[in-house]
Symmetry: D3
Subunit: 276 residues, 6 copies
């Protein structure tokens, strides 16, 4: 199901297109839309054919509303990508995502694919196999903001019919580099596969699914992803020997080892310069 | 587990053997029984070696009782294959299936493989991953009759020890032709595999399982099928590009798109000529 | 919540109004409707003020359709009240109930309160505490017909928006007379309370609830009844000493003792005169 | 368990003490603390014996941090009490509650009793009996903010050990005034009982419980409240006849009738003056 | 349902009859059997009318087998009543209980009421509402032995049809004396009620139920007890004010406060003299 | 993930190393530890390089404590391998395993991999797909002892932090030899894979997982094994035709066919010579 299909969508907007994942999708989603709208906080480089660029802060409501006009579906990855001060999280992830959803409502956008995160449920222990319906247990302010958007999107679907797929992404990097990532790793190609399936599936309502590759190690019961038809092709297993060789035997009682969120669950409160 | 095994059964009866699926099984199940009893409402053509033919209406109790004599196991596919007037559903599916089960009890038949259907649970949404224990939610009078037989067979097992496997068949056709079938498609070969496993498994009690191929897209948690050892070999994925090319972008709020039963869930009440 | 409230409904139809429970409701529901339509297979005696009588067989579609005209809500108790031959169950309970639901659809009736039964789940063991979502396990052909109507009503709600409350009535008699009834007994007054709450509750969708009084012994998790606000006032406990004195120590391995359906689960197949 | 117990706590802070519920607790919790700290946005009137008053906006971090010093436990009711513009919800409920929790962490406060709301799960249907573990389904931006604080408090317990009881309050008013409130009503006295039990229970960890009185009608499975030992004494049933007399027969398909959140689930997006 | 019923049983054996609970049952169960067999490790005082006394160690197989002859049902409370060295637990609770069950099998005893304990699940947190089906989590070697007998009794029912009711007793004392017991307390009279219901209920199969009184505070979902018809009459609530007055504010992070097993969960390994 | 990784552990102890499985692990685990300590009741033959041998009875506490000194992790397979008299089960499996766990605690061993068994849950029917959280249902005294150790290990983790992986091994033999083993078979190589993953996984807490190969037929929902990253490579399917050819059509009502424990569930009580 990885054959490219002739452009079914007129205009897909990718927020946070300047980041690592954004660069991946900017390339891999080209065939799926007539126009690829790209959002970044800074210049995204050359404007390629069929691309439209929007440079703004997601907290800037008017700018966000403007770029949502004429869009069919959004892949929303913009915002702070890791723990930060509450003020940064608030502006980038909470206010920014509200602007996306409220703008989508006003502009008639049909569907949002949201880059949620393992950190929305990072305080479950690795030995607990969880599905998409367990209560959220964020491991950081960053994770709290992810649960905020999951719930906000549920609200926009229940009341306004705007569909969402929330992808709880594990560790989306070129390759796994520690033992926990042998379970949570999502390859770039598999990430693209998830996005494509989220765009093409006929009716998604409001879904929350986990995002990892076909790793032997895994702590998620991802049956909910079934309807999307996501079929991972890569596996962290190929890197297992390398990872074991390069990393020390961990302490099983260390929170960074015990909890699904890893280091996020172990870290203390983010130093907020404004309060000091 | 697809090797053919020497005939373990003396006499298998296939009802509805004149239909598309019946023709498939008439061929593929030959090696599994010494005698293949075939039932149809009309002539089934030439009587081949080791075959016995029975032409009757399933609502005809005496005829049904007659053909069950000496039978080990039944594959029960007979009856109206889609929505119809209540009278037709009543005669063909409700009375007809009662005759099969009551006749099986009187004749000492050990096991029935029943061709149930996705339409027994067709009013669940596609985004809901359901297992075999969810309450039934039929999408049509046809679907209601499927739930009737599922419950009737449960009764005949609980009280009389007659085993049943109810196969909730998705879309059993030569190939998937719309986007919903990318999830529900069951290839003819995989259908045969399900039937063979249902015949050979040592002890099945009363089971309800879902019937689809190894499609990436799927809305069923089919863990219950595990004990049967059913191992699908085909996949709708091979037809995905073709299906996407040939079908328009669907409206996610259309009941035919939103519900697992597809068009059955969207259709109105079947025009019953007798009431007009 | 037992105060009588001024007639909120114009016309309530009670089917099976000639039976024991029908006589109870004929009296107790008088204050809840301007017109009480009563159905029986035989004369219901004198036509009292505000009553309308309909004498017919429920399998007679035209007669059923006629009596549903102008009705707001139906309390559907008509049909065979216990195990019988398949033909009787088919005509009275299956065809008869289809006529009620299809007639309700055509006549614009809003809600049906259906007298389902413990026998829809009678093959669960008494030690299993079950809720309303467990798969049905009928203990008789009578019980199979109850599951048929529960599923039919689900279909009429899912597709046509006709609301139903299915009351799985335990043992509705003047008083409990054996040890099993210490758990399943539903007093006449509590039965009325369930019906009143089912009529008055603002929005019921499709519900299945259990019907028993406030007995200490109980094998149902009836949380689903919560929204109805049913508050039983009677208890089988008052009769416990009497029941223990009058009944022998039972054999715990007797199916009539072990299963929730009691004697129904233990009885063999009903002798069907037509087949002999 | 309603006897007043000698002051076990040195200093309880009540936020939002100027509202209706705040006035109730200001009186009823007097015996439970040596000092009652009261927060309001405007003057709270005369400072009574053992009271300390704090007048500030919860979005004012420094002021909030100041008033948390020396506090044992907080009853946090402050913030916008119903749907409002996103900006108001953001400042009052999201930023304000973050300040409470982060301030509690810095000040060493042990426990927060948070006034969450039915609107955190208002998009479940009334016929669905839900417990505390179902995924949140907010019915408004107000409800989204309630889920935010529930998740934030989970985070502060999982990482920092600050205990919370989130009370999902139904309808806390002098008496029920519509049919939905016959299920959701929480009397003022029962609200006090919940707060007292939440203060006194030895170890609460992080709990989410529902807050209503002993009403016959109910759509919550509140088993989780068991450990608190909350024992409601009042019931909406006493007002049922009055409510039925004063309110019209509702339309079961009206979202305000169908969903647990009532009118909040039916209302459109709050008019945000800044966008017009 | 507390009226005494004429002796329905010929011979009930109570093991551990010399302890506090044994003395209670020795008195309260007199009317329920023609003969009351009493077991103790030491003299049980005067042999009253209709009593038979057996003085032995439960690890003495021959003696145990002897006293089970002619017995209808056993109430098995004998063995070490709290944490002890492994050797004592092994002899008294593991070997002793095996002797009871194997002896019951050989003597044709129909049912055993087993005094299990909260300590079989004592490592669940107080805030977790658990039912009878959660995996066991013993808090001590004593608790491990309780799970052993629960599983042994399951085996004897599944294979040999010997019925058991395992009562997970909370704190059965004259009155609650600490805050945890406000949830776990079981009055002597309610304990008798549980035993009587366990003896009289027609068919119990293998059940595990929780044993506490009608306390407002509670951490068990005891729906499984429903079928027994156990109806507690006492409540720890009456002692709440006294308990609060006499006990200090506990530390919520102390294991003895946090876990259901209380002090057992907090205690270290029992000093085993043989290893020192 | 099957590449051998440089010795991550100093000293692994294998109990029961003289049995069939022990011989497998003695060979296959060589690369995973600097020292392989091997325990047997009789001579284990030549002491190979890096091996240490301990010949003793597991009921001999001092000997067991001695051999646990300096050990990192234990693979505990010692004890009676099938049904036996209670005395043998008691000494070998109950006392013996207590000695292992208590010795591990005193010696500071970090983790135990325990060879539990399908017989801990052997009384579930084959048609029931069960996960690791269902209540145990042992099929023999042997099975009861397996549940004892599962619960004992839970206790040692909850109280003392000693990690355990309990592997509920199906049928670990050179090849499947009857129809039930087509579901339960675990190849020697896959058994090694499970052990290696149990040794290497960073944090296992207390886990119970099922042990079988990649067989099409299966009655376990083994999602819990996910986190271990166990990836079976063998399948009983290869032997299916052979098994079918060599074994007769079974009777579905035979307990040895109906229950997951197979013959163990069907066998009567083990003849205990001491009682005769």
């Amino acid at each position: 199901m990885t054959d490219v299909i002739k452009p079914p969508l007129k205009n897909i907007l990718i927020t946070g297109a300047g980041g690592a994942l954004g660069s991946v999708l900017r390339e891999s989603l080209r065939p799926y839309a007539e126009t690829l709208s790209l959002h970044g906080r800074q210049s995204l480089g050359e404007v390629r054919e069929n691309e439209k660029h929007f440079i703004c802060d997601l907290a800037d409501r008017d700018a966000v509303f403007e770029m949502l006009k004429g869009v069919d579906m959004v892949i929303h990855m913009g915002g702070a990508p890791r723990e930060n001060t509450f003020q940064v999280i608030l502006d980038s992830n909470i206010v920014g995502s509200y602007n996306i959803y409220e703008g989508a409502r006003q502009a008639g956008v049909k569907r949002v694919i949201y880059a949620s995160s393992v950190h929305a449920i990072g305080f479950y222990e690795c030995t607990q196999t969880i599905d998409s319906n367990v209560p959220q247990r964020p491991d950081s302010l960053y994770g709290v903001s992810k649960t905020f958007v999951e719930n906000l999107s549920r609200y926009y679907f229940d009341k306004f019919g705007i569909e969402s797929v929330c992808l709880r992404i594990g560790s989306c990097f070129p390759k796994p580099t520690d033992r926990r990532m042998l379970a949570t790793w999502l390859s770039y190609d598999d990430f693209t596969r998830m996005c494509v399936r989220s765009l093409l599936t006929p009716s998604v309502g409001h879904m929350i699914v986990y995002g990892n590759s076909k790793n032997s190690a895994n702590f998620w019961d991802n049956t909910a992803v079934g309807y999307l038809g996501y079929h991972p092709q890569d596996s962290a297993d190929e890197y297992a020997a390398e990872v074991y060789a390069n990393t020390p035997m961990p302490d099983p009682l260390d929170p960074a080892v015990k909890y699904q969120g890893g280091k996020f669950a172990a870290d203390g409160h983010f130093e907020d310069p404004k309060t000091n």
